[in-house]
């Protein structure tokens, strides 16, 4: 079978969709802390924190352009410690995707099909994503190509329609930094933690056509999503008011719900939800792919495809039963929980690997010719 590759452009789209679907729907920058009207400043600041995180993940990945995290951690730490360590990020994929799947299904059932059981939303999306993963990363990249313009168009169209309302309510953004920098900085914590999604880089880099440029691609994606995030944050807080925006579950969807086109088109949030679904689907499938691919390498399997079915079942079950309700789910995104989680799942393994890499590099310099 041919080697499956995705273009860097497709990676950009995948990262963009993965990050912005969660962010835009859930807007943790607004809802997770008390930054209120200054949330847009938090959004800008979170880019810089996020960039560091991405460099931590991607910087190491591009140093091993032909290997996934599972493979190079074995190289750096030895076979068994490496395998054990790489289980951590693999767990993170499972955890993140199940949380996201649950959020999507919650949005679906609370806003649109209120009488449908939650498991329907989770099940259909999970099933579709699993089939996509089974098809392979190449079709997935192509689907990202296809969905990206649709997604972007919908989001920008919604923002554009919101402009007249935005102008009326711009005073909602004042006063700037009234309560000092504290709340603003607290507001950056969760968004940065959520950038752990870029952990997919560690698995996807060897699949790229130009693995050396992966870091640049990732940073571009981060910058672009951050820009979009700032726009969405400004629009949401201004139109809905900072207090309301911080309290409700899905601020951006509520914003879109309040829009009208002309005199006869309203309730267009179903379109936003549709676009979100497209992006969400890509994100889910990529997480599942990374999980399955990584695990297959830990177990030494030839193909990851055999793992997709069982993993999807576990993942759907986790999404259904892992969280008792939406409010418990929301607590995960409180800075007090999200940050340690990100720390444990992302920073610790990457830190250890960087350390090992540094030591090996130094040792290598002392003993040239060592393997």
């Amino acid at each position: 079978m041919a080697v499956e590759k995705i273009a860097n452009r497709q990676l950009f789209f995948i990262l963009f969709l993965a990050r912005s679907t969660l962010k835009i729907a859930f807007l943790p920058v607004v809802t997770s802390a008390d930054a209120l009207q200054d949330a847009w400043i938090s959004a800008i600041l979170s880019f810089f924190g996020g960039a560091l995180l991405v460099i931590a993940i991607g910087g190491l990945a591009v140093r091993f352009p032909n290997e996934t995290m599972v493979q190079y951690s074995q190289k750096l730490l030895g076979k068994w410690p490496g395998k054990a360590l790489s289980l951590l990020p693999l767990g993170a994929f499972l955890f993140m995707s199940s949380a996201e799947l649950r959020i999507y299904a919650e949005a679906l059932t609370t806003l649109f099909i209120t009488e449908t059981p939650l498991v329907f939303g989770i099940g259909t999306m999970g099933f579709a994503a699993a089939l996509a993963v089974y098809a392979g990363i190449e079709p997935l990249g192509r689907a990202a190509d296809l969905f990206f313009p649709i997604f972007l168009f919908t989001v920008f169209a919604s923002l554009f329609i919101a402009v007249p309302q935005l102008q009326q309510h711009l005073d909602n953004l004042e006063p700037v930094l009234a309560r000092g920098a504290g709340p603003v900085l607290r507001g950056t914590a969760t968004p940065i933690a959520v950038i752990s999604q870029f952990l997919v880089l560690a698995i996807l880099v060897p699949e790229l056509t130009e693995p050396k440029r992966a870091l640049r691609t990732a940073l571009n994606a981060l910058a672009f999503t951050s820009f979009l995030l700032v726009l969405v944050t400004v629009a949401t807080t201004a139109v809905l008011g900072p207090q309301v925006a911080a309290r409700i579950a899905f601020p951006f969807l509520s914003l879109v719900r309040s829009l009208r086109i002309g005199e006869f088109l309203e309730r267009i949030e179903v379109l936003a939800m549709f676009a979100w679904g497209l992006g969400h689907f890509i994100a889910q499938a990529v997480f599942l792919y990374c999980g399955a691919k990584g695990l297959s390498q830990v177990l030494g399997l030839k193909s990851y495809r055999i793992l997709v079915g069982p993993m999807a079942v576990i993942w759907i079950t986790l999404a259904v039963h892992g969280y008792s309700d939406f409010f418990q789910l929301k607590t995960i995104f409180q800075p007090g929980i999200a940050v340690p989680l990100a720390f444990g799942f992302v920073l610790v393994p990457n830190g250890i690997l960087w350390l090992a890499y540094g030591i090996r590099a130094l040792a290598g310099r002392l003993k040239p010719g060592a393997p």
Binding site: A132, L140, R142
Partner: protein
Amino acid sequence: MLERHAGPSYDLAVRRFKAGDKAPAALVRLDGLTEAKVVEEILRTLMVDSRLLKEPERAGQIAAVALEELLTASEVREADNISALFAGLAAGKAALLFNGYPKALLCDAKGFMTRAITEPDAEKTLRGPREGFVESLRINTSLIRRRIRIPQLWMESLTVGELTKTEVVFAYIKGLAREKLVREVRDRLRRIKIDSVLESGYVEDFIADTPYTVFPLTLRTERPDKVAAYLLQGRVAIFVDGTLQTLIVPVELSVLMQAPDDYYEPPPIGSLIRLLRYVSLLISLLLPGFYVAVINFHQELLPTTLLLRITASREGVPFPVIAEVLLLDALFEILREAGVRLPAAIGPAISIVGALILGDAAIRAGMVSPAVVIVIALTAIAGFTAPAFSLGISFRILRFTYTIMGAVFGLFGVQFIILLTVMHLCSLRSFGYPYLNPLAPLIWQDMKDNLVRTWWWGMRERPKLLGQREPQRIPPGQAPYEGKDPGEGEEEG
């Protein structure tokens, strides 16, 4: 001996004569496949002209002499066994047998009736040539040769079908089509082992990348201008003798959406027509599903007055909306299929009964609501805008799934099945080339001829995945007024 093989076939005509005065010989042909004049010419050569030769020949020599000096037929071949002889006879050749000479001489005397070149029935255009392929391979390939007059247009021939011995030809432009693609086509055609090939569909089944799809992985066309255009992009055309449907590989979804008119009309018009087709295709796929989903689950999406209208029209309809939609959709499919089979003479009568009377009566009887009739009628008409008929069919099949998903799960059911469809399309390949190219994978430079098309002077490069052996199609700098002052020419006029 010949009759032992051919049996009492009445059309096997044997003419015995003496060549060069004394050598006994026979001319064998299948009546109806040969031209009488050509046969007479051959006989005259051997019976009359050979007497002019000075030396009296022996039988073996007269055959050699005939081959080299006498026969004026444009193509003469030797056949040394009986099956080659029959293959020749079936291809419209006249076989000359000489007493004591071990081989038969096959002279080209082909002349059988073919249909005249007419306008293709299945693919009509307003603008552009009206020529269509016919059932004869030679005429079809000649139609291409007339359009592409370079020696680099290569046509390779092979025989497929144990019993039918059908000639299959694949054509490509040497140096433009990728060698890998040509090799792949050749390999896939050679692998075919089948007893009969009566239509290009037989071949298509064997060479498709995957059988598990409703989407067509080859383009079937009966328009020579279309074939020529795709050959010039670096694709390969497969001709099968006895059919007018020529196959083009590889194809993409966007290729199946292209009609010749797009390229002959000015770009703004061509682009709009093409966009319209994409929109209609989406309508034909999605509209019933959306309608059912919205009526069942998402009534808030409709403006209130429209909703009231629809609800009022549904008053007293005994079926749920999904049953209505499926019923009418099935009814339409029956009408369509009947329309294809009907003799032309009674076609209009049936369509009046079918479409007008049935539809009208169904509404008056209160069995279906007018809104559903509108939806299905629009859907049905929209489905026929697809230039490739095979693509229209695949979307119609999918539409039923969409309708059912919309009825059961609402808009998110529709979204679910859209995701599955897109993933399926993304994973499809035609001869190894991605099916959704250039949309996915996204190739910006090929966007010039995808959803819309740009001016011809703007299509400077051939499609990236296919024609990049000779990337440049049109030299730059040919846009009107490019590099010149626009006012210059006007002053003189």
